[in-house]
């Protein structure tokens, strides 16, 4: 596993080098991993990398690029919209010459075009947003302030808003409200039921479960077997 970068197009036309993790031995199958979004990215980071280790062991190259504004990225998240993430993943797919894509959870909402692959545990943008809004409402309530989802959304669409520590633009909110996984030929959905075990994105503290990483890597390896 080596840290590397990829040239990521930014809104406004400039290009920045964004961080990526790579298992690259120049093998035939090269899998681009599109990470989970926002808070779920933290909960699933270790799981994602553990799946990559297993895919590497099974003989596949794989690449985990940062979404601009997330993880190690120095870009201002409040200037980013989901479309920019999709553009970034498209650029990463080209840079790493990916032949397949594996999207984790909300990563399936910002897929690069055309690549065949897998979508693990799809989720709608609206569900991710609802959870973030609820977290904010609950912590406001603990602090003795009443906030409502409608008011927060109306304000956020106009001015942007901070939810669970993420500064989201109005455009980010608007797109998250409607983004949903779109079935496409060549992209198989792998549901949590097929993996078994408690979904790691639900866990209050980020956690790991080797059996689940085994199961996802096995499902992918089996579908790649000739």
């Amino acid at each position: 596993m080596t840290p590397t970068t990829y040239p990521c197009p930014l809104p406004g036309g400039s290009i920045s080098d964004e961080y990526a993790l790579a298992f690259d031995q120049g093998r035939t199958t090269r899998i681009l991993i599109v990470p989970a979004l926002l808070d779920e990215a933290n909960k699933l980071r270790r799981f994602t990398v553990e799946v990559m280790r297993r895919l590497d062991g099974a003989g596949y190259d794989c690449f985990l690029p940062d979404l601009p504004g997330c993880n190690e990225s120095l870009q201002d998240l409040s200037l980013i919209e989901p479309e920019d993430w999709a553009t970034a993943m498209h650029a990463a797919a080209r840079h790493f010459r990916a032949t397949r894509v594996l999207a984790i959870r909300g990563g399936g909402l910002v897929l690069p075009p055309a690549l065949p692959g897998w979508h693990y545990a799809p989720v709608k943008g609206a569900s991710l947003l609802r959870t973030l809004l609820r977290a904010r409402i609950l912590s406001a309530r603990e602090a003795g302030r009443e906030e409502s989802a409608e008011t927060l959304i109306a304000y956020g669409l106009e001015n942007g808003i901070e939810l669970a520590g993420y500064r989201l633009s109005g455009e980010m909110l608007r797109q998250l409200q409607t983004l949903a996984p779109v079935p496409r030929p060549g992209l198989s959905v792998i549901d949590q039921d097929a993996i078994e075990g408690a979904p790691l994105w639900l866990r209050a503290e980020p956690d790991h479960d080797p059996a689940q990483a085994d199961a996802l890597a096995a499902a992918i390896s089996m579908s790649l077997a000739p």
């Binding site: 809004l133 609820r134 977290a135 409402i137 609950l138 409502s148 989802a149 408690a198 639900l202 866990r203």
Partner: protein, 87 residues
């Protein structure tokens, strides 16, 4: 076999808290949740509520979420049961 609402709720709480199978069996009506378990912070509760909506096929309005509903296993179970009956 269809799990009872109570068994399903124990399952969801186990998933959120990362409990081992069987550990959530010890929850009774008075077991405290939000405000009692330090790992059950607002983000975890928010994820829990979204998951309850998915698994029980219910919709939870924000103004239904209050400290009382999340106070204990018993009160959360009563809330989910009432929601399911109304569904």
């Amino acid at each position: 076999m269809t799990l009872s609402i109570e068994a399903k709720l124990r399952r969801v709480l186990s998933d959120v808290l990362g409990l081992k199978p069987g550990q959530a069996d010890a929850f009774d009506a008075d077991t405290g949740l939000f405000g009692h378990l330090p790992e059950l912070d607002s983000m975890a509760v928010a994820g829990l509520l979204t998951e309850l909506e998915d698994r029980f096929d219910i919709v939870i309005d924000e103004d239904e979420i209050d400290g009382e509903m999340l106070e204990s296993f018993g009160s959360l179970l009563a809330f989910v049961k009432a929601k399911r009956e109304a569904a």
